[in-house]
């Protein structure tokens, strides 16, 4: 039994119109049927582009938005059915770290009061001294000095504010922390500090994370299992290494190939799958496979009529695509929307000064050699073929 299990969770927001007669004219299907399970002590990463519903899903777990349908089973209880008061109490064990560290801290409260508020609400610590002691311990854990207690959020830098946000969650000794874009507002050097901190805390305290982020590299770095979301549903879920080594869903492939890698050798040689167009509106999602309007491998049958379910293709790797196997074997070539050929030509100048440096190009070559060993029709994205 996993610590947190979601089954067929739906969050639909009504779209209302009219002043006198409040009519519901449609629904934004922000989250539309997501099932996943998070094991204790692990990190589940949710990636996707803006508007795919990842934040809404995170909030739905804590019931910060109303769940339209489905179950959120945490440690044996279905949170979706709990009465409000019991839900409030169970939030001690489920905490959240928000994206915008300044916006999520009350500017008029000092750090002690921010951190004590949660303890107050959940009745932790009898005396002020007891609470303060506990707060100091947590501050120390997240790398903030003791005299931060009396200070206000504006006195801290972005990275420090995010540490305060993490401390606020930690002080309640939660089991699960939902981190919504925990580092996207921070500069890269600070990002790394916060990511390391999250990892350390997980190791020391045995925390379970659900990390929501748009940055695939960040998510892959900290997650054990990654779910890729598109328009309110999961299109692929796999252990993090697997997902990178062999992304199966066309959307995941495109997403992976779009992430810039800070290494010119890789950037010059890898193949790009450029998607055309934008995300369709979640209030009127396409029929059939939600991705079929932008999919380079779209087929005339099934794709636009039948919605694919998430099916296990082995090793915990789940994909929602009718033609996974055909695409992986290279039987199907992409039909459209491919970038002008960015394949690594063998004549591209590789005077490789990078080979011996910092040991970082080993994996890069792996990725780069893929297209050469390649699938017919230049389509089977490098990593897709070596599974």
């Amino acid at each position: 039994m996993s610590l947190l299990e979601l089954s067929d969770v739906k969050v639909h927001f009504p779209v209302r119109k009219g002043i006198l007669f409040d009519r519901v004219v449609g629904h934004v299907q922000a989250v539309d049927g997501i099932s996943l399970s998070v094991e204790a002590g692990q990190t589940y990463g949710l990636v996707g582009e803006s508007g795919c519903g990842k934040t809404t899903l995170g909030r739905a777990i804590l019931r910060l938005v109303d769940i339209t349908d489905g179950e959120v089973v945490f440690d044996g209880t279905d949170l979706a059915q709990l009465p409000e008061e019991e839900m409030r109490r169970s939030r001690r064990r489920l905490q959240m770290v928000f994206q915008d560290p300044l916006g999520s801290l009350n500017p008029r409260q000092n750090i002690e009061s921010i951190l004590a508020e949660g303890m107050d609400a959940h009745g932790i610590g009898d005396t002020r001294e007891e609470r303060r002691e506990r707060i100091l311990k947590v501050l120390d854990r997240v790398g903030l000095p003791d005299h931060a207690l009396g200070r206000y959020p504006h006195e801290f830098s972005g990275g420090q504010r995010q540490r305060i946000g993490i401390a606020r969650a930690l002080v309640l000794e939660p089991d699960v922390i939902i981190c919504d874009e925990p580092v996207s507002a921070l500069d890269v050097s600070i990002q790394a500090q916060v990511i390391n901190l999250l990892e350390e805390l997980q190791e020391q305290l045995g925390l379970t994370y659900v990390v929501i982020a748009h940055d695939l590299a960040v998510v892959r770095h900290i997650s054990d299992v990654i779910g890729v979301m598109y328009l309110g549903s999961l299109v692929e879920e796999a252990p993090s290494d697997d997902l990178y080594a062999s992304p199966r869903h066309p959307y995941t492939k495109a997403l992976m190939s779009a992430v810039p890698v800070p290494d010119p050798e890789v950037e010059d040689t890898r193949e790009r799958i450029l998607l055309t167009g934008d995300l369709p509106s979640p209030s009127n999602p396409p029929a059939g496979c939600r991705f079929h309007t932008r999919c380079p491998w779209r087929q005339p049958t099934r794709c636009d009529t039948e919605r694919p379910g998430l099916t296990d293709i082995g090793g915990g790797h789940k994909v929602a695509c009718h033609f996974v196997n055909e695409i992986a074997s290279g039987e199907l070539a992409p039909t459209s929307a491919l970038a002008p050929d960015m394949l690594g030509d063998s004549e591209s100048p590789v005077d490789d000064p990078g080979g011996d440096s910092a040991g970082d190009s080993g994996e890069g070559e792996d990725a780069a050699s893929g297209p050469a060993s390649g699938a017919p029709g230049s389509g089977g994205k490098a990593a897709g073929t070596n599974a």
């Binding site: 582009e49 790394a192 892959r220 770095h221 290494d263 050798e265 998607l275 990078g354 970082d360 994996e363």
Partner: protein, 354 residues
């Protein structure tokens, strides 16, 4: 002779009753036709101020711009306002970071594009509309004639950025300055926009000055890269050279802090400690010294100069550059402890910031 050559650009903000603040000091680079030059750095390093100074978009009061910037033989800082207006759009154009706030929300896209065409190319009426539609089509906006009538809020983020690019390239400028053009966009849209910029450079021979914080974008797009820290270029190199052997500890640290999609998992990142608030004035030494793992006593004796210790064309502003990565394993000295900020809650904490 390069198209744009910038020499020791310095921008100082002044305000009554306050100490002058030097946002940029000593940034030099040149851009050729068909070349992509990158300016990289974290927030507060002066990269946007550099671009605004070049476009003449800084306010006239309270700002002192020093150094030289020559565009095809003309001194950009010596131009009168009207001359500068003629240059903008036709010679140099800019793409801003946030497409929504760079477009006028109450004016249809079409009007905003034709405005430029009539100002610089004298096109009117039907002709201007046709050209505008053509421009939108060229940057990959489907159904351009319909889009011309729409307002910015009706377009998606990627499409707005495309419209902005269409406006920038409307008069075939010779130099494009792109200030974080993809930061506000999703990765798949970012890939589309970068591809578009790459096409412009390849096909039209446009010179591109790319300002970004994303080293991944730089790795794929730029020919030469300037890494900025606290208003100075700390490392200047050809991109392969920079990524293969970064020599300035800051550049080295930046590359070590980024989780990479293709690196093996399970290794902790090597962040740079502290934050941008921990810096000392360049006049007293190296601004990066308080955060540096490669710090030696000489770092605190005067401003380090940009030298080329290893290879020609690879400039490093550091007295003790990183020669190979094992260098960094043994910290030479404890970092200098200095209180550089008044208001910040700063005490040093192992692993913590500041």
């Amino acid at each position: 002779m390069s198209l744009l050559s910038v020499d020791e650009l310095a921008v100082t903000f002044t305000a009554k009753g306050r100490k002058d603040f030097q946002a940029v000091s000593g940034v030099s680079f040149s851009v050729d036709q068909g070349e992509v030059i990158g300016l990289v750095g974290e927030s507060g390093c002066g990269k946007s101020v550099t671009s605004l100074a070049l476009m003449g978009l800084l306010p006239s009061k309270g700002v002192r711009v020093g150094g030289r910037a020559e565009f095809d033989g003309t001194d950009l800082f010596g131009l009168r306002k009207s001359q500068l207006r003629d240059m903008r759009g036709t010679q140099l154009a800019m793409i801003f970071q946030d497409p929504l706030s760079s477009l006028n929300p109450v004016v249809p896209i079409g009007v905003q594009v034709t405005e430029i065409l009539s100002r610089h190319r004298g096109l009117r009426g039907e002709k201007a509309r046709k050209e505008a539609a053509h421009l939108l089509e060229r940057v990959g906006i489907p159904d351009p004639t319909r889009r011309l009538k729409e307002y910015p809020h009706q377009l998606s983020g990627g499409m707005r950025q495309r419209a902005l690019i269409a406006m920038a390239v409307a008069c075939a400028p010779r130099l494009l300055i792109a200030d974080e053009p993809t930061t506000a966009l999703d990765v798949t849209i970012q890939a589309q926009i970068l591809e578009l910029l790459r096409e412009l450079v390849d096909q039209e021979g446009t010179a591109l000055l790319m300002i970004t914080h994303d080293l991944g974008v730089v790795a794929g797009l730029c020919d030469r890269v300037n890494v900025l820290y606290a208003g100075k270029a700390v490392e200047v190199a050809e991109r392969r050279e920079l990524f293969a052997s970064p020599m300035h500890p800051y550049a080295h640290g930046l590359l070590g802090s980024i989780p990479r999609l293709d690196s093996p998992r399970g290794q902790p990142l090597n962040p740079i400690r502290g934050s941008i608030n921990d810096q000392i004035a360049w006049a007293d030494g190296c601004a990066f010294a308080p955060r540096c793992d490669h710090y030696v006593m000489e770092c605190l004796t005067g401003t380090p100069q940009l030298t080329e210790p290893a290879a020609a064309g690879h400039g490093v502003r550091c007295v003790n550059p990183v020669r190979d990565s094992s260098d960094l394993d043994v910290p030479h000295l404890e970092a200098p402890v200095m209180d550089t900020t008044g208001s910040e809650a700063t005490t040093r904490h192992p692993g913590g910031e500041a």
